[in-house]
């Protein structure tokens, strides 16, 4: 810590600091000053109370006093907006193209070209014996049987496994993908969709051929277009547009020389696309950007190192969808959801409960310092949240340090280095602010009565111990004899945390 005496910051600077609106360099200067100046710490305390007063007035008085929302809000006339925003020349060009399309294809949607009806007919078509499919994705292509017995993911070559995983994630039947039934099941699962049936050009005297096209705005698989055989209406080709890739399946001539099982034609896919630490970093950044908070997440490479696997536990469906949306655009990522395990019982043994009335007396002491029971409760809520947040930020920094040591980041692109730096910065700064908040609050609430126990633990251990002790102290689960050493230890840990967070923050700044 700088031993130079620091001038008292102005009220505006204190406000900017308190509101986390100040740049990190100046924040550190103010934080150092506040650590040493009780007068200014009290000023910040008063400002915080004033801001909290307004926030509760805003929610409890001002907003309820406004006239109630309309019973039925008008819908947004977006369709009108679309029409309004088309340039006249664009409409003319679209009309011309439409006419040309009609002329070229003798386009005429027959009355019977109904999606459901065509699918029903297509489902009755017999599956040709030994039918095989040519699969094309990116620069890879291979031949596979049209119908697979349950394939084992792990037994497949990587490129095929990748496509298989895409279909599984999209809940589309990979065992028999080029079938009307699989298409119908996927289509029925969509909450919003747009269907289009196109009549393809045919030779005079031949039956019509159809293309069924369904698009959706959500999910992994955004559109599927199946082309039906004019004779029996079985699907003969399909275009599957996933968020990240386009996959084409087409009926292939049966080849006697092919073994019955999966036969890669071009598996330069053997040059497997492995997931890299940079992929992993992008996952961390995306999760952070999506504020995927309050969730337990495992982020790790799978055993084959082809995917970054994100495992989430105990997450509601809506939140899971948000996380899925945040990860959709990233390559080589797979999201898994697990039901949560029973919460660990971390409660203290009964011997730690307030058997001798120590907690009641201590709470009264704290209430007197805080200015009343309501004020104390506000401080307790704020500090427990700050402690929990500090714990998380410290853990995040530990994970980043563990996953991306210099030996790994040496290989990173400039962009990845910047991303990592941003992430560390975000967590470092948050940790610094939380540590300071704890220090300021506890200085007023728990003035040292004993010599603080000097802590010598690392960042993770410090935040874990502090969080555990604070929870015990503020929940009143301690006995009279435990109180003095607990206070001394908390004071020591808070001081240590402030020093560590200032060091971390300073190092990241450099």
């Amino acid at each position: 810590m700088d031993s130079k005496p620091l001038a008292h910051p102005g009220e505006t600077d204190l406000l900017l600091f308190m509101e986390q609106e100040m740049d990190v360099a100046n924040s550190e200067i103010v934080a150092r000053h506040l650590n040493a100046c009780q007068l200014c710490a009290n000023r910040v305390q008063r400002m915080r109370a004033a801001v909290a007063s307004y926030a509760s007035y805003h929610e409890r008085v001002l907003k309820p006093s406004l006239p109630a929302d309309p019973a039925a809000w008008p819908r947004l006339p977006l369709a009108i907006q679309k029409k309004r925003s088309y340039a006249p020349w664009l409409l003319a060009a679209a009309a011309a193209l439409f006419l040309i399309a009609i002329a070229l294809t003798r386009f005429a949607l027959p009355h019977d070209a109904n999606m459901t009806e065509l699918l029903a007919q297509s489902e009755t078509a017999a599956e040709p014996t030994g039918r095989q499919l040519a699969v094309t994705v990116n620069e890879h292509n291979w031949i596979r049987p049209a119908i697979l017995a349950e394939p084992e993911l792990s037994a497949e070559p990587p490129a095929i496994r990748h496509v298989h995983a895409l279909f599984v994630q999209a809940s589309y039947n990979w065992n028999n993908p080029l079938s009307a039934r699989s298409f119908a099941v996927w289509r029925a699962s969509l909450t919003t969709k747009t269907d289009r049936v196109t009549v393809l050009p045919s030779r005079p005297g031949q039956r019509r051929s159809y293309r069924l096209h369904t698009t959706t705005a959500t999910g992994m698989l955004r559109s599927v277009a199946l082309t039906l055989n004019p004779e029996d209406l079985r699907p003969v080709s399909g275009d599957f547009r996933f968020v990240t890739e386009q996959v084409r399946l087409a009926e292939s001539e049966p080849r006697a020389d092919l073994p019955p099982k999966l036969v890669p034609q071009d598996l330069s896919a053997a040059k497997e696309i492995l997931a890299t630490p940079e992929d992993e970093l992008r996952v961390f950044a995306a999760l952070n950007a999506a504020a995927a908070d309050d969730e337990d997440l495992d982020v790790d490479l799978d055993s084959a190192k082809t995917h970054v696997v994100v495992t989430v536990r105990s997450v509601p469906e809506t939140r899971l969808n948000q996380i899925r949306a945040a990860l959709l655009a990233l390559p080589r990522v797979s999201l898994r959801s697990q039901p949560g395990s029973a919460p660990r019982n971390e409660s203290q043994s009964t011997s730690n409960t307030d058997t001798d009335g120590a907690a009641v007396a201590f709470r009264r002491e704290l209430e007197a310092r805080a200015g009343g029971p309501l004020q104390l409760q506000e401080i307790i809520d704020r500090d427990l949240e700050a402690s929990s947040a500090a714990l998380t930020q410290a853990h995040a920094l530990e994970v980043l340090a563990h996953k991306f040591p210099p030996t790994v980041t040496r290989e990173f692109s400039e962009e990845s280095r910047t991303t990592l730096n941003q992430l560390q910065h975000i967590h470092g700064r948050a940790l610094f602010q939380e540590a300071h908040l704890l220090k300021t609050d506890l200085a007023a609430l728990l003035p040292p009565t004993e010599t603080p126990v000097l802590a010598d633990s690392d960042l993770g251990e410090t935040t874990r111990t502090l969080d555990r002790l604070l929870n015990r102290l503020l929940a009143g689960t301690f006995s009279q004899s435990e109180l003095p050493p607990m206070r001394a230890q908390i004071n020591g840990l808070v001081t240590h945390l402030n020093e560590l967070s200032a060091l971390t923050s300073g190092r990241l700044e450099r």
């Binding site: 505006t12 406000l15 309820p64 950007a289 337990d296 495992d298 948050a430």
Partner: protein, 187 residues
Amino acid sequence: MVFSFIDRRRRFRLATDTFAILERMTLDEEVERLYEDTRAAIRAYLLCLGISTSQAPELTQETFLRLYQTMRKGETIENVRAWLFRVAHNLGVAARAKEWHFSGPEPDWERMKLPAGSPEQMLIERERLANVQAAILQLSPQQKNCLYLRAEGLRYREIAGVLGISISAVGEFLRRAVEKLGERDHG
């Protein structure tokens, strides 16, 4: 290894997050979702600018239509919520011509939302909020406006964008407001 992201204040998001997620959804759906999520907040703000109860929903709708047009052009919006407040502010000010000023509603104490507690605690809380109200009456319209937008979760930079003033002016308005609120709290 378990990695928990608990950034409860959500203050440290990467700058691009809002729009990056938006890009992945269809525009119509996204604007409709935003309309459902945010229209009440925008209407409340317009009412505080003195827009009538009958006109506020219209201007709210116009705000979202402008959002739709802007996003259709592919323009990047860093923080959609702040952008909506800015457009609503401009529409509100234009609608009131020179008569606009941020006032907020007359408090209706009957509709006040108090936390559960003993009658005594509720009385104390009500008294505390009445003190805050008395302090707010002494604030200038700009100070009230800044406090309001801050309580809606906007950063200083964003408040400055909404009101068309500098960031330092926002800091100054808020400092004075906080000072007056603090005097009342401790006076």
